[in-house]
């Protein structure tokens, strides 16, 4: 009984920052700073939300984040599935060596390559562009690894009949390998969507124009050095947190599963 009580209490404590975020976002600037703090706003107001829409072009930011995420996720899935199939099913010279290089790049933190990557993008004239923002995120060594493992797990017998019928590798890929990897593809979709949607460091160094910013970047620019309108910032973070929170509540099981897939195979 007692552990249950404590876990519940602690669970409420875990949720409390979110509750506080929403509560603060509904307060006027006097009540937000009041002592003692109030949990339920005495005079709830939507003024902060109106201010967010005045300060930031929210529809544009949502659109930017969403567009970049969808395109990058789609590219990541395509490149990972194709490369994964090649590593699992094709025989070509240097396959193992190339795969090892892929594995090694998985160990390299993004921060380590950020400087050369920036220089490369600058060389191509892609600084402050969506292409420069998205390009480093369209391929993922981790995705390739995950897809390779999934495709290795497919029994060869399933393909042999098709090979006897003279099916090409493209046929095999699209009608056998891909359909059987749907659970892994789903896990990869969730993970890469979250990582692109939440990305901060790379957008921070590569994007300067407000109209090209993604949601996290614009949010972090919202708070100034000294004068921060905290209730408004909380309204903005509430809005930004909503989509992912809703997706999480709907896909709770699948999301937990994809984190595990990533963990246990990685």
């Amino acid at each position: 009984m007692r552990p249950k009580f404590f876990t519940t209490l602690f669970g409420i404590l875990m949720l409390f920052p979110f509750i506080w975020m929403i509560s603060s976002s509904l307060k006027n600037s006097v009540e937000a700073f009041a002592t003692p703090p109030t949990l339920f706003p005495k005079a709830p107001t939507l003024e902060n939300y109106r201010n967010v829409f005045r300060a930031l072009d929210m529809p544009r930011l949502f659109f930017n984040s969403f567009a970049v995420s969808v395109v990058c996720v789609f590219m990541q899935l395509t490149s990972s599935a194709l490369a994964g199939y090649a590593f699992a099913r094709l025989n070509f010279r240097g396959k193992n060596a190339i795969f090892l290089i892929y594995l090694a790049t998985m160990m390299i933190p993004f921060q380590v390559i950020i400087v050369p990557l920036f220089i490369e993008m600058r060389h191509f004239g892609l600084i402050d562009s969506f292409l420069g923002l998205g390009l480093p995120m369209i391929a993922s060594a981790f995705g390739v690894f995950l897809m390779r493992q999934a495709m290795l797990a497919i029994p060869r017998e399933l393909e042999e009949a098709a090979i006897l019928d003279g099916a090409s590798h493209f046929r095999l890929f699209f009608s056998i390998a891909l359909p059987l990897c749907i659970p892994t593809l789903a896990a990869l979709t969730i993970l890469s969507f979250m990582s692109v949607w939440n990305a901060y460091l790379w957008p921070l160094v590569v994007i300067f124009s407000p109209e090209k910013m993604t949601l996290p970047l614009a949010l972090s620019n919202l708070h100034g050095e000294n004068l921060t309108d905290w209730p408004m910032v909380m309204a903005a973070t509430t809005l930004a947190a909503l989509p992912i929170a809703i997706i999480y509540l709907v896909l709770q099981k699948q999301i937990a599963q994809s984190f595990l897939t990533a963990g246990l195979k990685g």
């Binding site: 921060q111 390559i113 949010l219 708070h223 905290w230 910032v233 509540l249 937990a256 963990g263």
Partner: protein
């Protein structure tokens, strides 16, 4: 990666062509106070963060391992911060820990205590970034450990309790030893990730006050994108990469000593 390796031996400000200077960048690093300070801060951060997130995550996993009414909802509550972006988490906690009018200090002053300056004070800034980080990652640690717990065959515990083992004995003699593979995984991943800690610190303190929360990645970003010392920043990232590689390799080497694979 290779480019970073080559660049680390050059001096380059992006305007004039890179100039080969051999090991000079690395020599300079050894005596660079800011860099050494950031390295130390990164270690302090990890030393505070890792035990906090691991033991709380373990407690949550042990408590939520059985099903009871509301246990799934609780798991969701613990996991929600994991899917929330760092920017949101950092801004939210910056407001909660705001010295004036933030939740914590308002609550403290309501009971007559003058709260500290949190992220504005150089004594409290590190703790102000550690707590939100642990809060965000706790659910992930819990998830991995829960999976580890569920992989333990129930027969072991049953046999032990028939033999008259106490709950405590079962926990320390059976559950925890069999949980070592999951623990190992958490350790490796957390160390790799947190040597690269940046987002939350950048937003909450920008490394301040007085460099008290400045971390390695922040030095890389500052040197490359503020000062334009591309070669020098690359040398820093190579050092960071080497540290991560060595620590991971040592852990893999040492795992035989304490990780139990069935």
């Amino acid at each position: 990666m290779l480019a970073a390796g080559v660049l680390s031996f050059t001096s380059w400000d992006l305007l004039s062509p890179p100039e080969w200077i051999g090991f000079n960048n690395f020599k300079e690093l050894i005596s660079d106070r800011d860099f050494l300070n950031s390295l130390r801060n990164t270690l302090v951060f990890i030393a505070g963060y890792l035990p906090l997130v691991y033991f709380l995550g373990l407690a949550a996993a042990l408590a939520l391992n059985r099903k009871f009414k509301g246990s799934l909802a609780l798991r969701a509550a613990y996991f929600l911060p994991v899917v929330t972006s760092w920017v949101i988490v950092a801004l939210l906690w910056k407001w909660i820990l705001n010295p004036n009018g933030g939740l914590v200090n308002s609550a403290l002053s309501a009971i007559g205590i003058q709260g500290p300056g949190w992220w504005t004070s150089k004594n409290w800034s590190m703790i102000s970034v550690i707590v939100p980080s642990a809060w965000k990652d706790l659910g992930y640690v819990m998830l991995i450990l829960l999976a580890g717990l569920q992989a333990i065959p129930p027969e072991y515990k049953e046999a032990a309790s028939i033999d008259g083992a106490s709950k405590r004995q079962i926990l320390f003699r059976i559950t925890l030893p069999l949980l070592t593979p999951a623990t190992f995984f958490v350790l490796v991943v957390s160390l790799i990730n947190n040597f690269q800690v940046f987002d939350q610190i950048w937003i909450m303190t920008t490394g301040g006050p007085e460099g008290s929360t400045s971390v390695v990645v922040q030095q890389i970003v500052k040197n490359s994108f503020e000062y334009g010392h591309m070669g020098y920043a690359s040398a820093m990232s190579m050092v960071l990469f080497l540290i991560i590689m060595i620590i991971t390799a040592v852990q893999i080497r040492l795992q035989k000593r304490w990780v139990n694979y069935e």
